[in-house]
């Protein structure tokens, strides 16, 4: 089953205005899902990951209810049909 990304407001211009994006295939990990998303919407992924492929420090990615920062990061396994939420962290000044 495809997985589905929840796209935050500031990045929707880079996803054709969509709030949700499904990626085809059956990615096994979060990293694989992001690579699939990048093929369709590179502008989203380049703002979630830095140029070295790391999740930016003030962006949180949730697989289901779990923030991957406290788990396996981009190696986090994906349950079938899960939703991945891209959320800006509560930070600023």
């Amino acid at each position: 089953m495809p997985v589905r990304f929840l796209v935050p407001g500031p990045l929707r211009d880079f996803a054709g205005g969509r709030t949700h994006v499904e990626v085809a295939g059956s990615p096994r990990t979060l990293g694989e899902a992001l690579r699939a998303l990048e093929e369709a919407f590179p502008g989203v992924v380049r703002r979630v990951l830095d140029e070295q492929g790391e999740v930016r420090p003030h962006v949180n990615l949730f697989v289901g209810e779990d923030c991957v920062r406290f788990g396996d990061g981009l190696a986090t396994p994906l349950p079938e049909g899960c939703e991945i939420a891209i959320l800006p962290a509560v930070s600023g000044g």
Binding site: P10, G43, V48, E51, P88
Partner: protein
């Protein structure tokens, strides 16, 4: 939040490009410089340390470098004075994988000379120089500086490890000068292939070796027009002048209440006239005696005179950052500065009198003064501003 566009921009108008901690503003006046119209904030919530105007080849292009705390730093451009901004899907500037670095901020955007109308430079954090040779479509890391043996020993200053000054030489396109904090001054005489430290004479009071080859905390260098080998420099402590293109520097702080400060700007025509804003010590960083004063030299930094009419002369606890001071091209020259407390001051008589043209802006990081020339609004630029698909936004990016 939608930024209201400027009502109109005509040839001869003066624009102030103002980057702040919470977005960018564009101010416009006609040549009288008496009344200013404000547009902004553009990119609300994003810090903008660098802005620039490229008027070469019939362009009327504004560059800005908004940084989102969440989504990273980018380089965007506008060909209609901020009505719309071009933001490529893939950020224009990023470190190659082999560099192992990530872009933290863009600190400086510098168009090249008029004889190389498609050349631009960016100075970034962590300290590195990027260059475009196609009008800003694509950018490449300057490998010569990145691989310099000194670079691993450069240390971050209070603002970060940033390359904040880029000077090109219209008379010698192969000559480039940059400054990084901390690291100091570096010059290339071969178009950026190789770089040599040029810090002789600059005293680093904060280091064990007081006159090291590199490691100085240079805050700003300026290059007056018409004197290819003359430069003025504001150091962490110390004002300096060079008459040999940076081969050597000599102290030039006679007559200032403090030789600490950040900002420095040249007069558009007179190579002996320079503006600074002294600040008290490197700890307090506010105007000496609570008096906000711009200092001007008319004799090549042999002496300095305070300029205070219209500026607060009591209890001023403000700070002017390294790119917060600018001059326009007019006659008499306009002088402008923005403060950390969000005040934007202007003088249209070369600094003799001042008035505030905005207050309560977010902390101001940079001010650029631009005279619009060449059929404003009418001409399309020769080269498109962005590669691949581009998101054009009417409201803030």
């Amino acid at each position: 939040m939608k930024a209201a566009p400027l009502s109109s921009v005509r040839d001869g108008d003066v624009l102030l490009l103002v980057g702040t901690a919470k977005g960018a503003f564009v101010f416009r006046s006609d040549r009288s410089r008496r009344r200013w119209e404000k547009s902004g904030p553009h990119f609300p919530g994003r810090s903008v340390y660098a802005m620039a105007y490229d008027g070469r080849e019939g362009r009327n292009r504004i560059w800005a470098a908004p940084k989102s705390l969440h989504w990273g730093a980018e380089l965007v451009s506008s060909d209609d004075f901020g009505r719309t901004w071009s933001q490529p899907e893939t950020p224009r500037i990023s470190f190659p994988e082999k560099a192992g670095a990530t872009l933290a901020h863009v600190w400086q955007i510098t168009p090249g000379g008029t004889d190389e109308p498609d050349r631009l430079f960016c100075g970034v954090e962590p300290s590195a120089l990027f260059e475009s040779r196609d009008g800003g479509r694509t950018w490449a890391l300057n490998e010569g500086l990145w691989n310099h043996p000194h670079r691993p020993k450069w240390m971050p200053g209070g603002g970060g490890l940033c390359l904040h000054t880029i000077l090109t030489d219209p008379a010698r396109p192969e000559r480039l000068m940059i400054a990084t904090s901390t690291g100091g001054v570096y010059r290339s005489d071969d178009g950026g292939s190789t770089w040599q430290a040029r810090n002789r004479g600059i005293k680093a009071y904060f280091l064990k070796d007081k006159e090291p080859e590199f490691g100085q905390c240079v805050h700003k260098i300026v290059h007056p027009s018409g004197k290819p080998d003359r430069f003025f420099l504001q150091h962490h402590f110390g004002l300096y002048r060079s008459d040999d293109a940076g081969d050597s520097w000599r102290a030039a702080a006679r007559g200032v209440p403090s030789d600490f400060g950040f900002a420095m700007a040249t007069h558009p025509r007179d190579a002996d006239t320079v503006y600074i804003v002294p600040l008290q010590s490197d700890e307090f960083r506010c105007p000496p005696e609570g008096k906000l004063r711009v200092y001007r030299t008319r004799d090549g930094a042999r002496s300095w005179k305070p300029l205070s009419r219209g500026l607060p002369q009591k209890d001023s606890f403000d700070t002017i950052l390294r790119d917060g001071l600018a001059t326009d091209r007019d006659d008499p020259a306009g002088v402008y500065f923005g403060t950390r407390n969000g005040w934007l001051y202007a003088s249209r008589d070369e600094g003799e009198t001042w008035s505030a043209i905005a207050e309560n802006l977010p902390q101001i990081a940079c001010v650029r003064a631009v005279t619009v020339a060449g059929r404003a609004r009418a001409r399309r630029p020769r080269s498109a501003a962005a590669p691949r698909r581009t998101v054009r936004r009417r409201k803030a990016a």
